[in-house]
């Protein structure tokens, strides 16, 4: 069965405020899609719903055809092993070192010997260029280092789906470029399905992937950012989405 994320008729409200209604879209096997929208429109909420962290008021979220809000807890845990999530504020466990943070899902879900586990983590640390911070606690990391460590942790279980919330927001251009390079490579080489939220246009332009624009409480899909700009209106992009551009 092809890996895919499928959202059907998703609605969500905070109290009396409706964030979005009847949102439906699908992300195919090995595809990368970016969700854009102005600040406070509910991008991160929609990402959390897609990752099964929040339950929508109405609608269904399916990973590989499984309705993740209806399956039993044990099956959900099994399905979760196929996903990685990178939070906007890294969410590394504060009392574990970078090495232990990355090792956490491996130690929890597998019985891999220590030597093999260390080798695998070293490989991920090298790929992200953060071997020198392996023994540091999250509090001692810069924003960029923490984000890279968080991506390494999300990738350690070789997920089928990767969710990223503003992966390059607040980063220096060098770190942002290295994240773009890692994500592009992953999408090409490992057939990973990537769904991310970003409002930084220069970053989205470099990824050259389809765009979902969350505006007026609904989502519209565009194949390129130029198309989104043409249909969604340049003013929307210039006014709301240009931060960090």
């Amino acid at each position: 069965m092809p890996s895919e994320i499928q959202l059907d008729n998703i609605s969500y409200s905070y109290g009396s405020e409706t964030l979005f209604t009847d949102v439906s879209f699908a992300i195919g096997h090995g595809r990368m899609v970016v969700l854009m929208g102005s600040s406070g429109c509910g991008k991160s909420t929609l990402l959390e719903i897609s990752a099964g962290l929040l339950e929508p008021v109405t609608g269904t979220v399916r990973w590989n055809g499984y309705d993740i809000h209806r399956i039993p807890q044990q099956e959900l845990i099994t399905e979760r092993r196929k996903t990685g999530y990178v939070f906007q504020r890294h969410a590394l466990i504060s009392n574990l070192t970078v090495f232990d943070n990355i090792a956490l899902p491996l130690r929890y879900h597998t019985t891999m010997p220590d030597k093999a586990l260390s080798a695998m983590i070293e490989q991920h640390l090298e790929r992200m260029g953060i071997t020198d911070i392996r023994n540091k606690l999250p509090e001692a990391l810069s924003v960029g280092q923490a984000r890279l460590a968080s991506i390494a942790r999300a990738l350690i279980m070789r997920p089928e789906f990767l969710f990223l919330d503003e992966p390059v927001s607040g980063l220096d251009p060098v770190t942002a470029r290295s994240i773009i390079s890692v994500l592009s490579k992953l999408c090409r080489q490992s057939n990973l399905t990537i769904f991310m939220v970003s409002h930084i246009i220069s970053f989205i332009e470099q990824l050259q992937c389809p765009i979902l624009l969350l505006d007026n409480k609904t989502v519209t899909r565009f194949e390129t950012i130029a198309e989104a700009r043409a249909v969604g209106g340049a003013s929307l992009f210039d006014a709301s989405l240009n931060e960090g551009n």
Partner: protein
């Protein structure tokens, strides 16, 4: 007329409704906590739970809850022992019951004050810290990160805290008993000039296995309650503003449940003893 009825309806029904809603909310809280306690205890006996529990997390909990609390518990135990020693040594000599010095020390320190005072210190230090720690983890999305990695929160957070609290409380209670009895003996020696050996002998004669058993059961239960209540309130923080409230709820909730359990166990113990004896 319709307006009057409406006003009456509002005045009469709304308070009943709010009382009902509050009762349902509190009952739900109690059931949720029992659920968490049940999952934790069951988790300790399942292979999956035992495999995933982190020894390092348990050691950290014991170091923070037990080792770091030695000074404060020691001070409280010493003042407690001296106070009871003064009262027992002076008043009991006056009424000619000085041979009960050991019994008084054992009943008051080993069976009653030891478990209760120790648990109060643990609630104030570790229960509050645990609720704040988990509350902050919730706010910084560390809990969400664990969920998304498929890590069972019970295995990772609650079970180490649960075991760590119980181990620490039992050890701290033994330490409390020793310091308090030494304090009591020291002051009794000063006041009535009784020989140390005789006083120590009285205390040892007064200690029964059942005293140690009852106080250990109290510590096991108090430790479990503190861990479960603190973890529960920490895990139900919705945003940063509610972290202090979670700490407050964890402390108050733990104290209330501990007091109730202490009374129930003590009354139950005496009732059982009287019936059996």
């Amino acid at each position: 007329m319709g307006n009057t009825e409406n006003r009456f309806f509002r005045k009469a029904v709304i308070p009943i409704n709010s009382v009902g809603a509050d009762t349902v909310r509190r009952l739900k809280l109690v059931f949720d906590m029992f659920g968490l306690a049940y999952d934790t205890v069951v988790g300790l006996f399942t292979q999956s739970g035992r495999r995933h529990i982190s020894l390092q997390q348990i050691i950290n909990q014991v170091l923070f809850t037990g080792v770091d609390a030695l000074i404060i518990v020691g001070l409280i135990a010493l003042s407690c022992g001296i106070t009871i020693g003064v009262q027992a040594a002076t008043n009991m000599t006056e009424i000619g019951a000085s041979e009960y010095f050991g019994t008084i020390m054992v009943i008051s320190v080993v069976r009653e004050l030891g478990p209760f005072f120790t648990s109060l210190v643990v609630i104030g230090r570790s229960g509050a810290a645990l609720a704040a720690y988990i509350g902050n983890m919730k706010v910084t999305k560390e809990i969400a990160a664990l969920e998304v990695m498929g890590v069972n929160l019970n295995h990772f957070l609650v079970m180490p805290a649960f075991l760590g609290m119980i181990i620490s409380l039992v050890c701290l209670k033994i330490y409390f008993d020793i310091i308090a009895i030494i304090g009591g003996l020291f002051i009794a020696k000063l006041l009535v000039n009784a020989p140390y050996l005789a006083l120590v002998q009285e205390v040892f004669n007064a200690v029964e296995v059942v005293d140690i058993l009852v106080s250990t059961i109290k510590c096991l239960l108090f430790g479990a309650v503190i861990a479960v209540v603190s973890c529960y309130h920490g895990m139900h923080v919705s945003n940063i503003r509610f972290v202090p409230r979670a700490v407050f709820k964890a402390v108050v909730g733990s104290i209330v449940v501990t007091i109730i359990m202490n009374v129930v166990i003590t009354v139950g113990f005496y009732a059982f003893r009287n019936t059996a004896g």
